[in-house]
């Protein structure tokens, strides 16, 4: 029994190191002096702390601007996705029609589509709409990829709400829309929160759309901005790269610590049921 215990402890340790050491390494590199970064053997505990890298990252407003743009795009995507997929999910859950079944199958099938493959056609579409270089192009394309998954998940939440509640509201004379807004929506808040957070994370992570549709630095979002501004052709300034990475990682980490309970519950609810 003792050996089993040791195996468990050692495996847990290795897993923990694998998952967390890279983040630790990122963090301490960003606080090291440039000289210490290029030292071999590397220092595992930094001797001289400095915030110089952060100072130079924030020396102009571009990184703050990337962050701001990323918040706008991610929030916009989340709002539109939640609205559209709540409506569609409700329809698929309660007003089952043949057309609805076709829509549901089509939505599911989009999960398989190679996004990189359709981005060139999307580029032409946005070009014709005059939307290149706008945040709207990012919101629209991100919504298109997040709505299908969100709709299917949210439909699952609605399926769990008993129909009798709506029937009672309808008999009392409430319209279909009113029933949905004042009976169903309040009951599905936890599910909506989970889906909203998941959508936000996906939008926050976007790189492909941003490097393709946004050509002006002022409109860039975080990932694309970092890649364009801090990655040189030949060598990288690792002090700056790690400092800007730490900045980019923090908002998500805060979200995870506050909301992980809801995210996990929401995402796994659908999967466990199958």
């Amino acid at each position: 029994m003792k050996i089993k215990k040791y195996i468990i402890i050692i495996t847990t340790l290795i897993m923990g190191i694998f998952l967390l050491f890279p983040l630790y390494w990122l963090l301490i590199t960003s606080f090291k002096h440039n000289m210490d970064i290029y030292r071999f053997p590397p220092q595992f505990i930094p001797v001289n702390f400095t915030v110089d890298s952060f100072k130079s990252v924030f020396s102009d407003n571009s990184v703050l601007n990337y962050l701001f743009n990323n918040v706008i795009v991610s929030a916009g995507t989340t709002i539109v996705t939640l609205l559209a997929s709540a409506l569609a999910g409700y329809s698929l859950s309660r007003y089952k029609t043949k057309f609805g079944t076709i829509v549901q199958t089509s939505l599911l099938s989009t999960q398989m589509f190679p996004i990189v493959g359709l981005i060139l056609a999307l580029y032409v579409i946005f070009k014709n709409m005059g939307l290149i270089n706008t945040k709207l192009s990012l919101v629209l394309s991100l919504c298109a990829i997040t709505i299908p998954f969100s709709t299917i998940l949210i439909k699952g939440f609605f399926d769990d709400i008993p129909k009798s509640l709506e029937e009672a509201a309808r008999i009392d004379g409430a319209s279909r829309l009113r029933t949905f807004v004042s009976v169903i929506i309040p009951l599905s808040k936890p599910g909506m929160l989970a889906i909203g957070l998941y959508t936000f994370m996906q939008a926050w992570d976007d790189f492909l759309f941003a490097i393709t549709f946004i050509l002006k630095d002022g409109n860039r979002t975080l990932s694309a901005g970092i890649a364009m501004k801090f990655l040189g052709e030949v060598s990288y300034d690792w002090a700056m790269v790690t400092a800007v990475s730490v900045t980019g990682v923090l908002p998500m980490f805060v979200l995870i610590f506050i909301f992980q309970k809801y995210m996990v519950a929401g995402l796994t609810a659908g999967a466990v049921k199958g």
Partner: protein, 296 residues
């Protein structure tokens, strides 16, 4: 239910679907159809004013004759299968470990989720830094453990580049897999194990005959998510290797993007995308069929 009410239901139900249909239809289905269409034409971004010219499968011939398409399929599948298998196995191990005892610890779980919250481009940068050939910490650790004799240029060496990207991909995807499987484990009624143990089942038998069957649904959906993610993986390759060294990491995503936006040849890029789409459709049909058969 009256006829009027029924018509009202149908109309209401259809209206609710409209926003999603418009967005997904306009920005996924329409571009997909357009891509398929472009793939048969000579279409370059540099000469957008020129009329489209049908080029008699030239885009496809070109890709197949140079071997690039087959190469990209091979690399994409190799990468996808290895990452999915490793993530699944590690995810199961991690979930089993965390499920032991009273580890419903919020902090522990949040910490384990952090890599999942790290933006993919930052994951790429972070691992590029760790894999750096001269100052990289991975080289230092491996040298000190006497696993390697001299530093390896992980991302420049054609033998190691793809696996280095695979490590970065595993790192980011493991937490999600782990969380899903952990949720699945916690759904298994404890009495099942108690009953089996009384009947003299070993822990391996318990795992094979209780745990795995109960996890079937979770594994099916999270493996599907993992397959899709790795099939489409773009930012990791683009940032860490850009398809190099010597094309050893030129996946379908990289090949499409390079042709469309570096060589500015949309037609060829669209041809890669179309071939990819066809394979994905076949693949997903097969996947669903396999899992359906397992059920009975």
């Amino acid at each position: 239910m009256s006829l009027k009410q029924k018509t009202g239901d149908t109309i209401f139900g259809t209206i609710l679907l409209l926003p999603s249909i418009l967005i997904v239809g306009g920005f996924i289905f329409l571009p997909v159809l357009q891509s398929v269409f472009y793939s048969f034409y000579n279409f370059k971004l540099t000469r957008r004013k020129d009329p489209l010219i049908w080029n008699n499968f030239e885009n496809y011939k070109n890709l197949i004759d140079t071997g690039k398409l087959q190469n990209a399929f091979g690399i994409t599948f190799k990468f996808m299968i290895v990452v999915v298998v490793v993530v699944l196995i590690l995810g199961i191990i991690m979930a089993l470990l965390m499920n032991q005892g009273k580890s419903q610890n919020r902090v522990k779980r949040s910490l384990a989720l952090l890599p999942w919250g790290t933006p993919t481009v930052i994951v790429a940068l972070l691992w590029s830094w760790m894999f750096q050939s001269e100052y990289g910490v991975v080289n230092f650790i491996l040298l000190n453990l006497h696993i390697i004799k001299e530093p390896i240029s992980f991302l420049v060496n054609p033998d190691t580049a793809i696996w280095s990207v695979a490590v970065a991909a595993t790192w980011r995807q493991l937490p999600f897999m782990f969380i899903m499987i952990l949720a699945g484990l916690q759904n298994i009624p404890k009495e099942m194990y108690e009953a089996a143990t009384i009947d003299g089942a070993s822990s391996i038998q318990n795992f094979l005959h209780i745990t795995l069957p109960f996890l079937r649904n979770v594994i099916r959906s999270s493996v599907l998510v993992a397959i899709i993610t790795n099939f489409k993986q773009f930012p990791l390759f683009w940032t860490m290797t850009g398809g190099g060294p010597m094309g050893t990491t030129e996946t379908l995503a990289i090949l499409t993007y390079k042709n469309a936006f570096v060589n500015l040849n949309f037609g060829v890029g669209a041809a890669v995308a179309t071939a990819w789409l066809v394979v994905l459709i076949i693949f997903s049909l097969a996947y669903n069929k396999i899992f359906k058969e397992v059920e009975y």
